[in-house]
Subunit: 436 residues, 2 copies
């Protein structure tokens, strides 16, 4: 690349898949990448542009001349990818690019798609559809198909609409091939078809496609007219993003960042959670300071502070992870909050009694304070049960008031359990040291 | 259902999708569920059986007569679902079911599939393929298609093989429909086809299908013969499971459990991690006890123990989550471990200095010990930097020696950082109290 040996570079990348080229471009600097870009033919260039990461895409778009973007790339893209690409630009740039697109139908499709929010079915869908009318014959269909399919890479479903463009069913290619050419569509189409409204959230779309094993899902407007289709490859990204997002939230990372992002981006995503932890730590310090005299009398109580806070944190994170994942995959079923809590507390008792007994045994042999041995074990059991309850209830409550339950996992629940765990521990300790 | 009102129940479930029926069955007891099962026709029953959760499936299979399973369900299932179903049974039961299947070809396909490990491409693939020979004409193809497609729900790709059954390309239905019937396949097929070996892991398969946006991926044996195909719906489950597994590991849950699983199953999955935390807590207690005299002299040092351990834990979990997700989605790129570590440490310095300064300010105004103020802030900065380094390096190292890096997240890294954080904190404290 450095020597700008055009033919060699061209030959090298010609055999690669667009996704592989995108990987290579991610590693290059802007100048080199743009150089490679201009070597690609339109179709491949469009695929590559759809595949590369968003930061890089924004970088390239800034450098490439607008007319080249419009003519060379947008024209060859699926309408949903094109809308995603243009959606990230300023209004003026959007208009400029759209004015350079020759095919007025394509430009219109993109403008339509720009109206929808990115995380709705409307924002995910593309306009590339093969549509047939219920009153056509198989022969008309085949003819229409070759016309409509010209711009479409792969046909998964053929959608059947009535005269008002309302979606009424699907037609399998298999059935069409196997039917006589004079057969009427109305007699061979499959009337059961699942569809979503343009306003449906991307999570809803992914749950439906996952549950019913669909590769494409038609999108309709509020009166049932067919507006577009969502393909599984777009939804796979949503599924991975959703699952990753929950994990990131649980780990105390507030934005969608990747291992290769810059220091500043990563810092911004992580610092807020660390500040919550810091505030919690200061609160904990205040809690402990109220028991200062007790600690001076029995410094051994301080030894088990990390044990109590760590166990409360671990149990809380476990409980909240189970609830958050259940909510995300929609697998919680119909069980009531109360019976779920009861079951969780049952498990907490088993784990709590096991851990407390082990700790009791350890202290029984290695500590000479009877009060300490009892306090620590009793506090551990209470903290485990309490942390299970908060870990279960808080995400369920947040979900009920429509706040993302993943917020309640990770640093937040750990910090809360730290403070309450300390309160429980120190109070129990003060009590038993008073008794013995 | 209770009154066994057959017609009403039948009418109710007839309109439902198999996935919805499966949801209902998950909530019923075995007797009721089996009763509903026997009402379903073969096709729907097979779909439902493929959709329900594994525990329930095992429960039903135990109760249903073997001949019914074979004739009514297996015969109507895709070969990969059938193999999954049978694979969970004992050897004798497997043979008994297979002996009841009339179609020897189906039975043979299932036996073939049983050879592959569940988490490989062979275990994911199904035998339902539409295959054409390169030397056929479009007309032969269409005729063959109607014969082969009889048992197949939906055709995504038509695979082209040579005379040795080696995969050489794909044929798009679109192209076939649009070509003259006398055209030879060899002239119209698409020779670029991505495939995986039967031994490829399910993670590899999901990464390939995700990266290249495929809805179906052909599987070949070691000499390139076409053995089967994997469809995206099976891979969507793998992707969700992978992402959920990493999150569960990070939360201290060792088996794949769901919110509805029994107390015992959940306890078994959670207890091992709690025991690690317990052992870590006892170790922490030992570490602190070595500084007992110091704590008696300056009990305020104990106040900040939770802050130091919590912050070390939070930072370690953040760093490891970024690495584990990067490894899982294969997006780490070519950056070396060293430069990645440097970047991580850069971010840690920013976050560490911010948090330490805030803590310093707080203690400057609210604490009367200068030694404490300096010790706590210095320790916090060191702990944050140290925790970033372990959080980054340990998962990368585990990955290099082929151990699941997700093991290093959650309780493990938290516990490790707790202990080392305490060591750092107490040593720094001892030093500064000696100085001032």
């Amino acid at each position: 690349i450095d020597q700008k040996n055009e033919n060699e570079a061209k030959a090298m990348i010609e055999d690669l898949h667009a996704a592989d080229i995108a990987d290579i471009l991610d590693e290059l600097n802007t100048e080199e990448a743009v150089y490679i870009f201009l070597l690609l033919d339109g179709d491949t260039g469009a695929d590559v542009l759809a595949e590369i990461e968003e930061d890089d895409r924004r970088r390239f778009i800034k450098v490439l001349p607008i007319e080249v973007i419009a003519k060379k790339f947008i024209d060859h893209m699926d309408s949903d990818d094109a809308a995603d690409l243009i959606g990230g630009l300023s209004d003026e740039k959007q208009e400029e690019i759209l004015s350079h697109i020759d095919d007025i139908e394509t430009a219109g499709d993109i403008v339509d798609l720009l109206h929808y929010a990115e995380d709705t079915a409307g924002g995910l869908m593309g306009k590339e559809l093969v549509i047939v009318n219920e009153n056509w014959t198989v022969l008309t269909c085949l003819r229409e198909l070759s016309r409509q399919a010209e711009d479409i890479d792969e046909i998964y479903y053929v959608y059947v609409v009535d005269d008002d463009n309302k979606l009424i069913g699907t037609l399998s290619l298999k059935k069409m091939i196997l039917s006589p050419t004079s057969a009427k569509i109305i007699n061979i189409y499959e009337p059961d078809v699942m569809s979503v409204h343009t306003d449906a959230s991307d999570e809803e779309v992914s749950l439906i496609m996952e549950k019913y094993d669909l590769v494409a899902l038609p999108v309709v407007d509020s009166i049932g007219r067919l507006m577009g289709r969502i393909t599984i490859d777009d939804v796979v990204d949503v599924i991975r993003d959703e699952a990753e997002k929950d994990y990131q939230m649980a780990s105390g990372i507030s934005e969608d960042i990747e291992a290769n992002d810059s220091i500043w981006l990563q810092t911004r995503a992580r610092l807020p959670w660390l500040l919550i932890g810091l505030a919690g730590g200061i609160l904990s310090a205040m809690v402990i300071s109220t028991h200062e005299s007790g600690l001076i009398a029995t410094p051994a109580m301080a030894f088990f502070i990390p044990l109590i806070t760590a166990m409360g944190g671990n149990v809380g994170v476990q409980s909240s992870a189970i609830i958050v994942q259940g909510l995300a995959s929609n697998s919680l079923g119909f069980e009531s909050t109360f019976s779920r809590l009861l079951r969780e507390l049952g498990g907490a008792c088993v784990n709590g009694i096991t851990c407390s007994s082990l700790l009791f045994t350890y202290n029984y042999f290695f500590s000479d304070s009877y009060a300490l041995t009892i306090s620590v074990s009793a506090a551990l059991l209470s903290v485990i049960i309490f942390a299970s309850a908060t870990g279960t209830l808080i995400p369920l409550m947040l979900n009920k008031i429509k706040i993302d339950p993943a917020l309640a996992t990770g640093p937040f629940i750990t910090t809360l359990n730290d403070i309450i765990g300390l309160l429980i521990y120190l109070s129990i300790g003060a009590y038993f040291y008073g008794v013995f």
